[in-house]
Symmetry: C2
Subunit: 344 residues, 2 copies
């Protein structure tokens, strides 16, 4: 912290015995002070502490890790970290882990690629992380559990529950159902859907929620428009929808898609929300400032990250492998100006 490198006369960074010598105590006593052993006279403790400060002594992490078999590090395997969702989750993870004294090693794996993810996991395991947090889309790997190191506590913060692993996830289905129901309530007789990237649990669940709501209302779902997570895909879908006079409402799988949709509809002179209502999913910070402000579903992803870390810390502390717990975070409908009753 001071920048000036305090060291022993010998020139090398101080070690525990240097502290002991300086404080006039033994190796053992310094260790007791450092690890909060009860039977240490306050005066001794203070003398040791002073020696530590004067020498600028810092415990060597590697040596501790070697003997304690703990690194106070958790590995995080994530994908698509440039997207708003994943990056929010990661932020929550990093903060919560840091607050608990753990560092996070992030390893991004670009694809929905099972072997890629497993390779990252192996690398992190080799690095000696105490636990593992997965946020990559993994629903395609039903036997994931068997492919992970058995002795490495692991939790998921993904789109949905993962077989055999504790996980935290948002109830995307409920969120999508809620927006769709909103539109139906406002009088729309048909609601279209622009899907997220194939292979993502989030995409499948949101589509599922949309279907659920339609089914409950007795409306037959029109074909899903092939999508993705970006504005470009939304734009393409929007151009297609603009030419269809029957369309009065569109549920997009995320806000970026909705942004692209809005652009395409405006370009074609289709008024939102008077002729077509549009909704998103995520509530990205800028979605309140689109034209018109976007009706969407807010999901507290930082909380998902926090809770996932909490779950992991429980495993790290408890040691006992209780049944895998699945925590569900409920999203919240945010109604803005991009939705309204259909034209008559």
């Amino acid at each position: 912290m001071t920048g000036t490198e305090v060291a022993t006369p010998a020139g090398r960074p101080p070690v525990m015995t240097d502290v002991a010598r300086r404080a006039g105590v033994s190796h053992q006593t310094v260790s007791r002070v450092l690890n909060g052993h009860p039977s240490i006279r306050p005066e001794t403790r203070e003398r040791v502490q002073r020696a530590i400060d004067e020498l600028g002594y810092r415990r060597n992490r590697a040596a501790r890790a070697l003997v304690t078999r703990r690194t106070l590090t958790v590995g995080v395997v994530a994908s698509s970290t440039s997207l708003f969702g994943p990056s929010s989750t990661l932020h929550g993870v990093e903060r919560a882990a840091h607050a608990a004294g753990y560092a996070t090693i992030l390893s991004t794996s670009d694809a929905t690629d099972r072997d890629g993810v497993l390779a990252r996991v192996a690398q992190l395991s080799d690095r000696g992380v105490d636990g593992l947090l997965l946020t990559a889309p993994l629903h395609e790997v039903p036997d994931l559990r068997e492919h992970l190191p058995a002795d490495l506590p692991t939790v998921c913060a993904t789109g949905g529950p993962v077989t055999g692993l504790p996980s935290v996830h948002v109830d995307h289905r409920a969120g999508a159902r809620a927006v769709t129901e909103l539109l139906l309530r406002q009088g729309h007789r048909e609601v279209r859907h622009v899907g997220g990237s194939p292979g993502w649990f989030e995409a499948a669940e949101r589509e599922g929620g949309w279907r659920d709501a339609l089914a409950a209302a007795g409306v037959a779902p029109a074909p899903v428009l092939a999508g993705g997570w970006g504005a470009a895909e939304g734009y393409v879908a929007g151009l297609a929808l603009a030419d269809d006079p029957a369309t009065t409402a569109v549920v997009a799988a995320n806000d970026q898609l909705a942004l692209g949709l809005l652009r395409a509809l405006r370009e074609r002179g289709v008024d939102v929300p008077r002729r077509v209502s549009v909704t998103g999913f995520d509530d990205a910070p800028e979605s309140a400032y689109l034209s018109p402000p976007l009706t969407t579903v807010r999901q507290d992803l930082e909380r998902v990250g926090r809770e996932a870390v909490g779950l992991l810390l429980e495993r790290l502390a408890g040691g006992v492998a209780t049944a895998p717990e699945h925590r569900v975070v409920v999203p919240e409908l945010v109604v803005r100006a991009s939705t309204g009753p259909p034209p008559r």
Copy 2:
């Protein structure tokens, strides 16, 4: 990788001597194989390798770090990781570091807070990272160099050059000058500026570039509108500008601000670009899909991250402290439909 935990008969994970025993060689030979020592018979090498595979042996990172004094880990101190800019840089950093065999420990420090950053640095240093990469806004710390651990290779990937440290940064000034010049060329007699968050080098430099261009054209700069990095601040600025008939062009310090501006102007019935031209900075993925598509400045931040890692790796390998190098990444003007000639 297999998930089945291969271990010695004793039940504990295999260590080097287990491999040696199994291969019928010595401790020393295994080590030589592992570290690529030249004088090893191919046949022996193979026998050792087979033993390693059969036992599922993995070298213990902590033990290696203890003796080699290298962890193959770099620490990254970042702030505002939820913003598009920082998160792009981080992505480049993570990928480049991973490709070079280094893991990254991310430590986010929320504020433009010098002590906060230094605390993160100290924690990472204690963790035994081999090098440090700073992406937090740090121009306020002219004597930063003296406050950092002297023996820890450190580079910056920030808004601008940092005294005494190697760094990679985008030439924000040139970027801002280029957009401003574009507007002047198109005939605008006055160009306003909505600034970024105070305390950020990026914000200061972009404002500087705007001023430079105006000065070169002999135009007196109107007061900067207080800003930030979010759409909300842009919206506020936009409401103020909408009422000013003299305003025909606005340079925003980033795309989010521009998005807020567009929203406010549309709300007030001000046509973009026919009455007012608007530009951003960043070229976020969705900026091509705003209405109208945003003229902006693209900066290759992933490259900034990559190059910063490259600089760091040089220091880690070379050892020799050459003069701090500053690499500058030149941004690129992206002209879209949000700009045009002023109304006559």
